[in-house]
């Protein structure tokens, strides 16, 4: 593993800058998270954060809408943005020499967007198009409904909103959201790749250190409904999502759970792949992964399977989840560790992956786990440790969302 250094700089207004130098690369990447996610949307106007993310890019500082897009192109930056639950994210990867200019223009987007009234309706249509896109993405639709049921509100919120909520949002709503939520306290800037950290600290200071902080507003929570939901739709396959309790990043059992779910789903010799796809040919896609929204976490298993065989697929998945509660083998854990190690080493080739990872680490943990540290934690896992965890926290209390032409039964498989 190459040398892993994490550099940080805390600004007085609450903004955090983190950097991981990767001097073997000629590129650099930045990942910026503004604490202005959809959980802060008004309950009647979900989609505000997303709509604002669209509108802030329609002219900022000295750039009108077209000049902004052209500036990004001249930098050759692969720029992306999205509204998540806690944050709105802005980021990009580019040739190292363009990093500071890219941060400069992003600062304009965050601090001095024009929010032009004359482009409001275009922006609204873009948001409506995103909703329509999800409507035709059946696995995503099923997964989105699972998160809504499993986490409740606002943790399970779909940042896109609905047609009704997007139609209800006014320019004043966007201006108000920007003024209150786009502020530096809790804002994270992560950079990775080739850069001079002192120069980045100076630049970020110039761009942001006079920005006044604003406290994040409180949110009203609605508890989860969990349970079973069927979405009726005439499709070739039935799309199945099973959910059960997972581990947040700060949970002391995080790595134990990671190993358990890895045995279930990582690689072609994993349990789900072997039992559902390889042995029975029931599907093309099947997987399970741990998902977390800060204080809440779930393990979500997905499979798409032809309608006639969907009940069998669900039965096999549930059987495998129950079986996992009985523990993993030494051989399974050993090969999982090698797979994880491979993945961590490969991450060093991508400054974009590392920028996103260190940003996310900071948000969840208040620090960054180096790849060496993650590897150490994984290697420290023992079969006894994982199995002890599984005996105390076996997969159970399943929630189910299905999308297709026939509902399915969640048959309770008796534990052995």
């Amino acid at each position: 593993m190459k040398q892993q250094t994490i550099l940080t700089h805390q600004f007085a207004n609450g903004l955090t800058l983190i950097g991981q130098p990767m001097p073997w690369l000629q590129s650099a990447a930045f990942a910026i998270s503004v604490p202005a996610g959809s959980r802060y949307d008004d309950a009647e106007k979900i989609g505000t954060a997303n709509f604002l993310c669209e509108m802030v890019q329609r002219g900022c500082g000295d750039h009108d809408s077209r000049q902004f897009v052209e500036a990004l192109q001249m930098m050759g930056v692969d720029f992306s943005s999205s509204a998540g639950n806690y944050h709105t994210h802005y980021g990009g990867a580019l040739i190292a020499s363009e990093l500071l200019p890219a941060l400069g223009i992003t600062a304009e987007v965050l601090r001095r967007p024009h929010l032009p009234a004359g482009q409001l309706e275009e922006g609204r249509m873009v948001c409506l198009q995103e909703i329509a896109a999800t409507s035709d993405d059946l696995p995503q639709k099923a997964m989105s409904r699972m998160k809504a049921r499993f986490y409740g509100d606002p943790d399970g919120r779909d940042s896109d909103g609905t047609i009704e909520s997007i139609q209800a949002i006014t320019l004043e709503d966007l201006q108000d959201f920007h003024q209150r939520l786009y502020q530096p306290d809790g804002l994270i800037i992560a950079v990775a790749g080739q850069f001079d950290f002192n120069a980045v600290v100076d630049e970020v200071g110039k761009l942001f250190d006079d920005w006044q902080r604003n406290p994040s507003p409180a949110v009203v929570e609605t508890p989860p409904s969990k349970g079973i939901e069927h979405i009726q739709f005439e499709s070739e396959q039935t799309h199945i999502v099973v959910g059960f309790n997972g581990c947040t990043y700060t949970d002391e059992n995080y790595y134990l759970n990671r190993c358990a779910i890895g045995v279930l789903s990582d690689g072609m010799s994993s349990r789900l792949f072997t039992e559902v796809r390889e042995k029975r040919g029931l599907c093309y896609t099947v997987f399970a992964s741990n998902h977390s929204v800060k204080d809440n976490a779930g393990v979500f298993c997905y499979s798409g399977t032809s309608t006639a065989r969907a009940q069998e697929t669900l039965d096999v998945i549930v059987e495998q989840l129950r079986e996992l509660g009985n523990g993993v083998t030494a051989a399974e854990l050993k090969r999982l560790k090698i797979q994880i190690r491979s993945g961590l080493v490969a991450q060093q080739e991508s400054c974009r992956s590392r920028a996103n990872a260190i940003n996310s680490n900071w948000f969840h943990l208040g620090r960054v786990r180096t790849l060496d540290e993650i590897l150490e934690n994984i290697n420290a896992m023992t079969v006894d440790g994982v199995n002890d965890y599984l005996s105390k926290h076996p997969p159970a209390d399943f929630s189910l969302v299905t999308l297709g032409s026939e509902a399915l039964s969640l048959r309770d498989v008796e534990p052995v």
Binding site: Q73, L128, A132, S135, D137, G304, S306, S342, E349
Partner: protein, 411 residues
């Protein structure tokens, strides 16, 4: 960075871009076998064979293949297209000899009946999975309509019926027409012990029999027209268009790719301003596809069904204007910046480097470094781009529209 090659007596080539500073190693078999090599009776056989390669050999069962790949921590996958099938695996360098032994072994699969019949079900599920996704079979339909009788028009996946009717014998026969050592390469990139690689491959593949695997580069008679695929429960309308474009052999293919970027990439292109910035479409793009002996340009727009008829007109107008008036120096500069950046970012990943080595052999039996390729793009002139637009004007496309509208007409 050191490019090394070795050719076995039976014609199998090993091509490796060796980088001692890399921390991973990537390997891939690139085979000239794809849907264009099939007949309608065996439609889908190349793709099904791709699956069967992982289902065991005389030396290992399917379960053992999966187990051993995971034990090496391998990130592996495969893909089949119209003209090629690619099998690849990325590992930590310490697993080089293990992964090469496995990859070379599975390239001579057993095609056992029980595995065959189970995997057939997986492929039927895969066909259904794509049937549920936009554009709901529209891609297969437009390729078939555009290419007509030409084999490039054949579906990669096949149909439920053609796949169900396939037998191991038919697959074996097909294998014996395409999987010749001189019709494939082993590409590698990253931290490679080249001498050890050559020794392994000679040992494992030295007895493979060479045979001729031909492919007739007959030029298609491209078709134009307009067809509707009615899908009432889709929310969006999907518009696909195909027109003739540059082939893999054409010198103007770089200028044509630059033109496609200016006309229809997802950030700052003509299509971006016309459709995406305005919210008139959810997605809108133009891309070039190059084949042996011919090429195509595909245009895809996804939008609200109510806007689809107007969008058909807009597509026509935007393309016509670009072809007639040409594009600007400023647009060319921005396109080059984006392309250069993309080449740089891609060149930093070992797996991408391995793909570049193998794909360049498949396409033109040559190798150029990322710097050399970046240079070619840097030297493309405005004249060349505008000439490419006129050479491939997209003015008489094959159009297929998919979605809830059944009343759309050509622009």
């Amino acid at each position: 960075m050191n490019y090394r090659t070795y050719t076995l007596d039976n014609g199998l080539q090993i091509l490796a871009e060796c980088n001692d500073q890399a921390h991973t190693s990537a390997f891939g078999f690139f085979v000239r076998a794809g849907s264009r090599d099939e007949t309608s009776e065996i439609s889908g056989v190349s793709h099904f064979l791709e699956h069967m390669v992982f289902k065991g050999t005389p030396n290992r069962s399917a379960a053992e293949v999966n187990l051993q790949l995971d034990e090496m921590g391998s990130s592996s996958n495969a893909r089949t297209g119209e003209e090629s099938t690619i099998y690849h695996a990325s590992v930590l360098p310490e697993f080089q000899s293990d992964v090469v032994e496995l990859l070379t072994d599975i390239m001579r699969p057993s095609l056992r009946l029980e595995d065959f019949e189970t995997e057939k079900k997986v492929i039927v599920e895969e066909i259904m999975m794509y049937a549920d996704q936009p554009p709901y079979g529209g891609y297969e339909q437009i390729m078939d309509a555009f290419f007509g009788d030409h084999p490039l028009g054949q579906s990669v996946l096949g149909t439920v019926q053609s796949v169900t009717e396939l037998t191991p014998e038919a697959m074996r026969d097909y294998f014996r027409t395409r999987y010749s050592p001189s019709n494939m390469v082993l590409a590698a990139a990253g931290k490679i012990d080249f001498d050890a690689l050559v020794t392994s491959v000679k040992q494992q593949c030295g007895l493979w029999q060479n045979f001729e695997a031909s492919r007739e580069p007959v030029r298609p008679n491209f078709n134009s027209g307009f067809a509707t695929l009615h899908k009432p429960n889709s929310h969006q309308q999907y518009i696909l268009q195909l027109s003739p474009g540059a082939s893999m052999e054409n010198a103007d293919r770089f200028a044509s790719r630059v033109a496609a970027t200016i006309l229809g990439d997802d950030a700052g292109s003509r299509f971006y301003w016309e459709f995406l910035d305005s919210g008139l479409a959810e997605s809108a793009g133009v891309g070039a596809n190059e084949y042996q002996g011919c090429g195509s340009i595909m245009t895809v727009v996804c939008c609200d069904p109510e806007e689809a008829q107007n969008n058909l007109s807009r597509m026509k107008n935007v393309i016509q204007k670009a072809v007639e008036d040409g594009v600007t120096e400023k647009e060319l500069t921005m396109a080059k910046k984006k392309i250069a950046s993309h080449i740089l970012l891609a060149s930093e990943r070992t797996e991408t480097r391995m793909f570049s080595v193998g794909t360049q052999w498949l396409n033109r039996q040559e190798f150029r470094t990322p710097e050399q390729i970046a240079d070619v793009y840097a030297n493309v002139t405005l004249d060349e781009v505008n000439t490419a637009l006129k050479t491939y004007p997209m003015d008489d496309p094959m159009t297929v529209v998919i979605g809830p509208r059944d009343d759309l007409v050509p622009a």
